[in-house]
């Protein structure tokens, strides 16, 4: 398919300022939050209305041109990285809040609405939208749905999938899928859950209905400093064993603390090896009781210092530092490579120890900042892309970390998605039957395979190439390779 023809068709369909064709202007669209992976697109369309989105998709369908949906471009797995010969459909201009329904405590949003903008818009009603990825200031709700994003508060309040109640999806077949909305449960197959985390490969989301929750009247944030990472890890399990589900339970190690402190000046203890941030929320009496219990637990488990932030400003500062920790690490090294493995909580200390050994082995520093309560690790491998070979080293080490996670009974990605980044590790986690099942499922939505192709699900050939040595469920994964 010639670029010229598609370009002409799109030019005829979209206003001038909604189509980017100049190669220089296309460059900044070649990557998302994961800059190590880049590919300039053919074209970028920035539609302003849903019908323009539909028109772009129609042209792409008729000419079999791949479509890459893009929200705010904060993704960390290359999900919105363009594909060669493809059109990027940027949804940033569809950024209106269409409806706030106070009777049913739901809101209807266009996909480009920023996550934080939802809570800001409904704050006057005492409501908020619970999932709060650290990138919430910038990331879009459409991107959140596509990645099933979590946040520092999802231990108690769930991931995107738990907080989205309706979607409108433009499918690549030209069909429009309406799922849920104001109500709470759907008939038929749970396509809504399936759309969450589908990385833009099943269609383009153009409307999102989200659940709004009442803002908890009282919050307390405890900051506990530990002299050992393992002690902090142990405390995480203890808190949960005690029957508590904190609103957030996060951990940062020394490097991450230093970087975050340099940005927010929140008063994190710089001499600690690890800190835990534990937020308790709810009605006053309950929070008081829980906070006392957690404080006692933390001290018993060897916390060298426990501070409690009661006032909203101090709390906000503590969270700001946590939420800005990834980019703040940019102060320590020019580049970082962010991992996203999830493991059972009880193996935290052990896996962190192994990561530390890898850090020594590869001679690359690692900053750890993560959702401890969910067992969702984010080791940030610090490197310098300008030093030849460092990126490759960082990637190799990252791969090893993810394999560690799988071996510990966990998964290669908790919330950032597979994108193009973790395709190889998908071969470790899934066998060929499972991968083929994914492929058939995708074909049910996108038979032509033009929705964000080449992401999330590796081809069997790729898996075969990177080595059929991985053992899955006690079986070699590619026993039926002879089929192709």
């Amino acid at each position: 398919m010639s670029r010229k023809l598609v370009r002409r068709l799109l030019q005829r369909t979209l206003p001038r300022h909604c189509l980017i064709t100049d190669p220089v202007a296309l460059k900044p669209y070649e990557t998302d939050g994961l800059t190590a992976i880049r590919q300039p697109p053919w074209l970028v369309a920035l539609p302003e209305t849903e019908s323009q989105v539909a028109a772009v998709l129609r042209i792409c369908r008729e000419h079999a041109v791949p479509v890459v949906p893009r929200g705010a471009g904060t993704g960390l797995s290359g999900g919105a990285r363009p594909v060669e010969g493809g059109v990027v459909v940027g949804l940033s201009r569809l950024n209106k809040i269409l409806e706030v329904d106070l009777d049913n405590c739901v809101a209807c949003l266009q996909p480009g609405v920023r996550n934080l903008a939802i809570s800001e818009a409904v704050a006057e009603h005492g409501l908020y939208y619970a999932p709060d990825p650290s990138s919430q200031i910038a990331c879009s709700i459409g991107g959140n749905v596509a990645e099933n994003s979590g946040g520092v508060h999802c231990l108690k309040y769930g991931l995107t999938v738990h907080n989205v109640v309706g979607l409108k999806v433009l499918m690549m077949t030209g069909e429009v899928l309406h799922l849920g909305g104001r109500g709470q449960e759907l008939d038929g197959y749970d396509l809504l859950a399936l759309m969450c985390g589908s990385e833009g490969m099943l269609g383009v989301v153009t409307e999102v209905w989200v659940k709004l929750l009442p803002v908890p009247p009282v919050k307390k944030v405890l900051l506990a400093a530990f002299a050992q990472v393992s002690a902090a890890a142990a405390a995480v399990s203890e808190i949960i064993t005690a029957g508590l589900i904190p609103a957030g339970l996060e951990m940062m190690d020394r490097l991450a603390i230093q970087a975050a402190e340099a940005y927010v000046h929140a008063g994190y203890p710089l001499d600690a090896q690890a800190i835990l941030l534990c937020e308790l929320d709810g009605v006053a009496q309950e929070v008081e009781a829980d906070a006392a219990l957690v404080e006692r637990l933390l001290r018993d488990l060897g916390a060298i210092d426990v501070q409690i932030a009661d006032d909203p400003q101090a709390q906000a500062r503590l969270w700001l530092g946590r939420k800005a920790a990834f980019p703040a690490v940019g102060r320590l090294a020019p580049d970082y490579y962010c991992m996203d493995g999830t493991i059972p909580r009880y193996r935290l200390a052990e896996v962190l120890q192994q990561i530390e050994s890898l850090s020594v082995e590869y001679k690359l520093r690692v900053a750890n900042v993560f959702h401890a309560g969910d067992g969702n690790l984010h080791p940030l491998i610090l490197y310098d892309a300008d030093i030849p070979g460092e990126l490759e080293k960082a990637e190799a080490m990252g791969g090893r970390i993810l394999e560690l996670c799988v071996a510990a009974g966990g998964t290669i990605t908790g919330e950032h998605g597979v994108g193009v980044e973790k395709l190889d590790q998908m071969c470790v986690q899934f066998n060929s039957d499972e991968l083929e099942q994914f492929e058939r499922l995708k074909a049910a939505f996108d038979p032509a395979g033009i929705a964000n192709p080449g992401k999330a699900i590796p081809t069997l050939t790729r898996c075969a190439e990177i080595g059929g040595m991985h053992v899955h469920n006690g079986k070699l994964p590619f026993r039926n390779l002879e089929r192709f």
Binding site: P28, D32, L46, G112, S135, A328, G330
Partner: protein, 405 residues
Amino acid sequence: MQTKLPEAIVATTKGRRAEQILRSCVHCGFCNATCPTYELLGDELDGPRGRIYLIKEMLEAQKVESVTVTHLDRCLTCRACETTCPSGVEYSQLLEIARDYVSSNYRRDLLDRLKRLWLIRTVPYKRRFRRWAQLGRAMRWFLPKRLREMLPVASTVEALQATPPVSPSVAASSVLLLNGCVQQVTTPQVNAALRELLAARGIAVVELAEEGCCGALELHLGKEPGALATMRNLLDTLAPRLDEVDAVISTASGCGITLKDYPRLLKDDATHGKLARRLGDKLLDVGEYLLSLDLSWRKQDEVLAVALHQPCTLQHGQKLGDEARQLLQNAGYDLVAVRDEHSCCGSAGTYSLLQAKLSSQLRDRKISCLESGQPDVIATSNVGCHTHLAVAASVPVVHWIELLR
């Protein structure tokens, strides 16, 4: 972020600095969220992250493309992105380098060049600017709407004859007040009010007889050599008076920010660099200064609720702003809540002339945020914002100094 700047660029001081800044950006995109032009236009290229990328590409290719210029020109230099950036990326310095690069490696079209030339030759010179302003007022109805809106408000043009400084006989302390070029023409009442306030409290106000421009205008238009000359000139005029005073202040945060930046801008100039640092030691924003004096204030009787507009040059540039809030509260005013406080009003120096459409869209947004709390007045601390907002606001716009008694 990985960069591959060519040797020729890295060999220069600026090139090295640019590389450093580029590499400190991790491409997280947080900054886009608070960038006024990204909010308005929703295009990566009109947000800081995209601009940084365009600059990187430009320096890597050593070639200035017109789309790059288009998107860099749309930047307000409001620096909201710097406030937001967790990685500490000094975007405005990168932009300064980029604009300088553009101005020496790119030929703008004729109209654009003329506009910029006119701005540089007129605005910083208060007599020329005054003449243009008067001429403009006379021909008001023949001018296109956008230019008309730019004109100083009627009363102020007439009330031009600067009030002579009142010096109390026995001064407790003394302060050098910089008047700024545009402010003397458009809103002279601000400094007049300040002089009165200070005089009444026994503080001597020293002013310069022939005060030149601070250089901000040329700097923002990418004319660095000219800007530096203007700065040296001002420093020379200032130098003899520095020892007489306890502090040097400006009531326009747009001038203040540039003045505070002198030591960096002139660091390669031995004599003026030193002068700049001496100035830097005494330089304060008027809010900082007044708050440090620990004086008491009264409020104007008829005004109750104030919407405080924080100029970008104050909140993002100088990381200040609470001082004015504090002073107004001390004086007994109610401050109404203002939505999207971080966001620029679109004035941004010459931006309102060069990017008139975006500028007025931003202004209208800002005014709706400022007026949503139903204030009696809008108070600001920069002359540019002051006149820009006054055109469209439905309540009076003042410098907060004018509210103190």
